[in-house]
């Protein structure tokens, strides 16, 4: 009977959809469910008290440190997104509009070069560049531009922003590049023909038509940076710790998985809210596009 079932259309559909379903269920839904469940439990020293309670959420609300860290995380992610997307746009624009078509793939290939080394090594390289006796400081001192090493570029929020912005640059460049590539070049000529200069053509045609790519970049950069804890750990110093570091601390050092889960859920809700806003924005720009 079972053999017969897998020969029917319905059975074949079940067979086809099973692997992705199992993957999604056990690797996404179950862990997420566990985190949500944990967030409503509490830690009693070594055991977990499984009585349902919102005490963790109350604690988040009462202790200013959590809100401070979440606020700083949102600020850092926002700044990283801003810096990354603003610097990615000109690069994507240049490759799309000014690089000869036969050389475009080579340029994209070059843009991915930073990815050839591990994320951790890249973070350490930024330490070398930004450090007290690092590349930036020693160059500027040799040139006589400064007399003492700059201290505001390492072990604080700025260092985290610089490092993350560099790490996510290719992720931001590619969606914008794709959106720019899709723009029919005759639109630009038509706009100029109708009296617009090159700059106003950019504002009225190129920018709105590349908006879906821009929004995609924003989301691709913003969402993972909220959860990043390696860079703030290594580059942030005492004042540069973010919510992700706190989550890690709760889970590992403080052995308070329920509180860590609660913070993770709250951070996720924030990200979801902001993402929904951008998706809504994207819908508005996607309207009317064939």
């Amino acid at each position: 009977m079972a053999e017969g079932f897998f020969k029917t259309d319905r059975g074949r559909a079940v067979l086809l959809v099973s692997p992705p379903f199992l993957y999604a269920f056990f690797l996404l839904a179950v862990p997420l469910g566990a985190i949500i469940l944990f967030s409503f439990w509490t830690q009693d020293f070594v055991t977990v008290n499984t009585t349902f309670t919102t005490a963790n959420y109350q604690e988040f609300w009462d202790k200013p440190i959590y809100k401070l860290l979440l606020g700083r995380s949102l600020y850092v992610s926002g700044m990283v997104t801003l810096v990354t997307v603003l610097s990615a746009y000109p690069i994507a624009y240049f490759v799309s509009f000014h690089v000869h078509p036969t050389k475009k793939s080579m340029w994209l290939f070059l843009i991915t070069i930073p990815f050839w080394t591990s994320y951790l090594i890249r973070v350490f390289l930024w330490k070398v560049i930004l450090g007290y006796n690092g590349v930036v400081n020693s160059s500027l001192m040799e040139l006589g531009i400064i007399h003492e090493p700059l201290t505001f570029i390492l072990y604080n929020v700025n260092a985290v922003i610089i490092t993350l912005a560099h790490a996510f640059a290719p992720f931001a460049i590619l969606p914008i590049f794709v959106a720019l590539e899709k723009i029919d070049r005759s639109f630009l000529e038509a706009s100029q023909d109708l009296g617009e200069s090159k700059f106003s053509t950019f504002l009225r045609i190129t920018l709105p038509l590349s908006m879906p790519g821009l929004v995609a970049s924003v989301m691709i950069v913003f969402i993972p940076t909220i959860g990043d804890y390696v860079t703030p750990e290594l580059m942030g110093g005492a004042g540069g710790k973010l919510i992700a570091n706190m989550i890690q601390t709760q889970f590992l050092q403080l052995n308070n998985a329920p509180m860590g889960a609660t913070l993770a859920i709250i951070a996720m809700v924030c990200v979801t809210a902001i993402s929904l806003f951008f998706i809504f924005l994207n819908r508005r720009w996607l309207r009317g596009r064939a």
Partner: protein
């Protein structure tokens, strides 16, 4: 009324690297004229149009529009507007926003502009379409939007880059008539680029036929069709039979001995490319030849022929006939009428021709 020149090109050259796209174009286009640039693909007609629009600079020579030298003037500052081959309707804007695109710097009030947009849409037959999304339009509607968007700015010249090539046959014929009507209505100079000779003949006041970056012939449609000045123009426009011949001058007329047909006496204007003597090519249009059917008489000259091929078109039948002394069959087009049979392949028949319809061209 004497025509007032609006666009003047003198010795315009255009190079793309080593490639010589325009070779010393001299051309004057008048105010209010419907002018066509016709030619096979790669002949430079689109390059010439884009040069006038300002998207391409000239490598040599001068381009004047309305008495002003256009050297270094960017497209947004020229009194020209263009309808692109792809129509280039902005996909993120509505129909009305597309049409109003060029009005940003217009000092008129918002209400007046909205009224102008509505009028422009009305003019192209799209009244009430203003709120539609651009992507919801058909090909013909896109083209109308492109026309309205260009004409609302009241340009001195409207440039049309193969505007009908993306439409199906019925729509194309409809738009041809509409474009002519529109051009008469607004009185603006239209410059049309096309590779479709029929389209050019139907629509234009004058046509420049281009080959390899040069203008082969510049004339009104009738002259172009009846008196092509070279073999390549004759071949490109309509269908033409070519026969070998020998020409000798006789005063200001020419005596030609046409292979297969016989001797003819022709006037000087039947040699529009100049008076070639000796070996010549004689052109004759299919519709100026006629099959003389059983029982019909004609006062025209006659020669015997054998039907080689019959192509039936409904209203017309095209015959390829073999004439003694000519290798290639002659094509004859005959209107199908009551009492006129369609001949079979291999039938013996007679062909009537007239020396007044011959065109003598350089061999």
């Amino acid at each position: 009324m004497t025509p007032k020149p609006l666009i003047q090109l003198s010795g315009v050259d255009k190079y793309y690297g080593d490639y010589h796209a325009l070779r010393g174009i001299d051309l004057t286009i008048n105010e209010g004229e419907f002018f066509s640039l016709l030619g096979p693909s790669g002949c430079g007609k689109t390059t010439l149009l884009r040069t006038i629009a300002g998207f391409e600079g000239v490598s040599g020579g001068t381009l004047m529009i309305d008495g002003k030298n256009m050297a270094g003037v960017s497209p947004n500052l020229r009194p020209t507007n263009m309808v692109f081959q792809s129509y280039a309707i902005f996909p993120h804007l509505s129909v009305a926003e597309n049409v109003a695109f060029g009005l940003r710097k217009d000092p008129r009030s918002k209400e007046e502009k909205a009224k102008a947009v509505a009028e422009a849409l009305e003019m192209v037959g799209l009244g009430g379409y203003g709120n539609r999304a651009a992507h919801a339009l058909s090909g013909g509607q896109r083209q109308r939007v492109a026309l309205a968007r260009a004409l609302i700015l009241k340009p001195k010249v409207l440039l049309l880059d193969e505007p009908l090539s993306a439409l199906d046959k019925k729509m194309r014929e409809l738009m041809q008539v509409e474009l002519i009507r529109l051009q008469r209505q607004v009185g603006i100079t239209f410059i049309l680029v096309t590779h479709d000779q029929e389209e050019a003949l139907v629509m234009s006041d004058r046509i420049a036929v281009m080959f390899e970056g040069e203008i082969g012939q510049l004339d009104d449609p009738e002259t172009l069709y009846r008196r092509p000045n070279s073999k390549r123009v004759a071949e490109f426009i309509g269908k033409m039979n070519f026969l070998d011949g020998t020409a000798t001058a006789e005063g200001n007329r020419i005596a030609v001995d046409v292979a297969g047909l016989g001797k003819g006496d022709i006037a000087a204007d039947q040699a529009p490319g100049g008076m070639p003597l000796g070996k010549v090519t004689v052109g004759i249009r299919p519709e100026t030849l006629a099959i003389v059917f059983e029982g019909e008489t004609t006062d025209r000259r006659i020669c015997d022929a054998v039907v080689d091929e019959v192509v039936y078109y409904g209203d017309m039948t095209y015959y390829d006939v073999k004439v003694p002394g000519v290798d290639k069959p002659l094509t004859i087009s005959m209107k199908n009428m009551i009492g006129r049979p369609v001949l079979d392949v291999g039938a013996l028949t007679r062909v009537a021709w007239d020396e007044r319809s011959l065109v003598v061209l350089a061999a």
